[in-house]
């Protein structure tokens, strides 16, 4: 594809950025991305912001960050959902030939939100909402279905948490760097069986920005581009009863398409690093399999063998993932930014040896809708 990511900017992810508004967060991330690309705001010809009216408690939530994202004299638009989807629209604009440089932002302040009420509103108002369902209770059902179908154990889930929190120790943007053991995870508070507190991602504040440019523009600048090789998204059925919750079919389809665009036939061998939407421990394993990076039901065993560790054959979430910081709407865009840093060799203490990487984001309940990005050092 004739487009590349030429700049990334992230705020630190924190439990509460009480001193900063959405605009303050966007301002910081946008300026970091511009500096990273060696550009000024006048070099940007259009802007996509990504936000959620529900998570922000604000109608037309994009309005809160418009000024700070530099939309004033530019064409712009706004996506609601995960940042990977915002970036997908930005990519379309870059490839359309209408624009050279698209700035993408995504922000969330979980500290100002009540997750259970907000995610309850994602359920059907007539049939499901009254049951009191929310993201955690739904994902607990999915975790149970996945464990039942694959024989994945609570210990294997716990190991995801240990790995990711440890990885976060080398990520200056992460909220929860920790050394923890499987025992610590299993003895942490039970939130919704089988999910313990340490199986769940935290409530977080943060903003991420990236700049996507078309190939002609990339030639003219000094910034180190990371090339976009494949992007695809796909949605599964809405009602949980219409889906086999133990499988991520929509992710499999999105991954298949993204790999085909990138000319990848054997993702396990051809992908060197993955940043995955691990809102819960079981999700990292399920999504690894959905992305074709492990056979179905085998991710837990591969994890035990250390394959997904930072020094393993296929490092997954070397940044610490969402388990170490989960600014909801921004979470997927952070995944893209992290893969970009890895491929540029600028990931500091969390650097792995990678030429090609995959980043992943999710919309809706229990991974109903997935977006997959394949990024490469080379064009």
């Amino acid at each position: 594809m004739e487009a590349a990511i030429i700049g990334v900017g992230m705020t630190t992810i924190e439990k509460s950025k009480v001193g900063e508004t959405y605009a303050d967060l966007a301002w910081e991330a946008v300026n970091k991305a511009l500096n990273d690309a060696g550009l000024g705001i006048d070099d940007i010809d259009n802007v996509i912001t990504t936000s959620s009216d529900f998570w922000d408690g604000r109608t037309i939530s994009c309005m809160a960050v418009g000024d700070a994202s530099g939309v004033r004299y530019k064409n712009c638009s706004a996506v609601e959902g995960d940042g990977t989807f915002g970036a997908a629209y930005a990519l379309a604009r870059s490839l359309s030939g209408d624009y050279k440089t698209t700035l993408v932002t995504a922000h969330s302040k979980g500290s100002e939100s009540i997750s259970s009420i907000i995610t309850n509103a994602a359920f059907d108002p007539i049939y499901e909402r009254g049951l009191g369902m929310d993201m955690i209770s739904a994902c607990a059902m999915q975790a149970r279905a996945y464990m039942h179908a694959t024989g994945t154990t609570p210990e294997q889930l716990a190991l995801v948490s240990c790995k990711n929190h440890k990885n976060a120790k080398d990520n200056p943007y992460a909220q929860l760097p920790m050394d923890i053991t499987v025992k610590d995870v299993l003895s942490s508070e039970m939130i919704a069986d089988p999910l313990h507190k340490l199986d769940c991602s935290p409530v977080s504040d943060g903003c991420c920005a990236i700049i996507i440019a078309n190939a002609d523009f990339v030639k003219k600048i000094k910034a180190k581009p990371v090339w976009i090789k494949g992007v695809a998204f796909c949605s599964d059925a809405y009602f949980m009863g219409d889906r086999d919750l133990s499988k991520a079919k929509a992710l499999e389809e999105a991954a298949k398409k993204a790999y085909s665009m990138a000319g990848i036939t054997n993702p396990q061998n051809e992908i060197n690093v993955a940043e995955i939407y691990d809102a819960f421990t079981y999700q990292e394993l399920m999504w690894i399999e959905g992305l074709g990076l492990a056979e179905y039901g085998k991710a837990g065993l591969m994890l035990e063998k250390g394959i997904f560790n930072r020094d393993g054959k296929l490092p997954v979430n070397p940044s610490g993932g969402l388990l170490s910081g989960h600014p909801v709407i921004a979470a997927g865009l952070y995944r893209i930014a992290e893969v970009v840093l890895q491929l540029r060799g600028e990931a500091g203490g969390r650097q792995v040896n990678a030429k090609r990487g995959v980043a992943h984001g999710v919309n809706g309940l229990c991974g109903q809708s997935h977006c997959v990005w394949v990024l490469d050092k080379e064009k």
Binding site: F54, M63, E80, Y89, L91, S96, D98, I118
Partner: protein, 387 residues
Amino acid sequence: MGKRRVAIVGTGQTHHRSHRPDVNGRELIHEAVTRALEDADLSIKNIDAVIIGNMDHFEGINYVDCWSIDGSGGYHKPVIKLTTGGTTGSTLAIGGYHFVASGMFDKVLIIGWEKNSESDTTGAITTAFDPVWDRLVFAGAISGLAVEAQSYMAKYGATDRDGARVSVRDRKHACNNPYAQLRKEVTLEEVLASPMLADPIHLLDVCPRTDGACAVIMASEDYAEKITSTPDWIWATANRHKYTYLGDVNWGELDSMAEASKDLFKKCGITEPRKQIDVIEMYQPYSFAGIIWIEDMGIVPRGKGAEYIWSGATDMGGELPINPSGGVIACNPIGATGLIRCAEAALQVMGKAEARQVPDVNFAVSTGFGGCMWTDMLLHGKKKPNL
């Protein structure tokens, strides 16, 4: 210009009503989608991706892209949600154009919808504005519009009778549109005698609340010409979402419209919009905008809007008919409204607008309005654009 030509090949709308208790949101969406597919003689299997939008706080449903699958037909397809407030519908159309122009998809289904009967519309809109600086002094949409109208009247001496003339036009036009919600002619006197909502805006100057959905199918050149012999080519898009704070707005002029139309017309080589454009479907939520915004669009000089309206030039049969559909004053399912403008402009170009058809349309403009005095625009053409 884009790398690939993009055209609208099918449109569908619900028969918009103030209250549709017979359907839920998904069923409402399904009605519009089915009609658009029928119009293009396509099946949902032919659709590569779905782009959907509304305003969350009206229906209180989170992740609408995911929730709406059974109505949109997005099952195991790429589905993405765009939302920008009142401009949502036009934002969706602009999104569809870019997804096809990019080569990522060949045929996209674009859906805007709203069930405003389920909402406290003013309550939900009020939360759009900054909680510290704006929210306590500006309630909902109508207060901002009243400020705009007052500022314009103070600058250019327009009267509420001028505004009423626009309302008379749009409400008359709506009688030709079977999909419009309010289809009743009114007189100037009736508009002026209707209750004052926010001075100078009377009840009959302003849009209603509506339940409705609209679907538009866009296709790349290869497919478009096979699907229909009269594709509506999208020549270009432009928008400006200039402001975050109401206090920053240059009241009395719509800067976002002035800048977006300049950008749009430049991209398409339109130098004399009044002569070159044959019809406009404007997201004009209240009557005074019909005077002010045609000045910002460059149709007439500053301060000359009312004179142009009174001349009858924007009526059906006039030099440049505006809102043959009856526009937003006759019907406003907010998340769908901008897309309805786009669909109506497409019908005009395709020659499918029936009783509301303007003869010989070569160029049509559709617009969206919303947010903090923001504007979206699309230029539609009968001929193919240059690449």
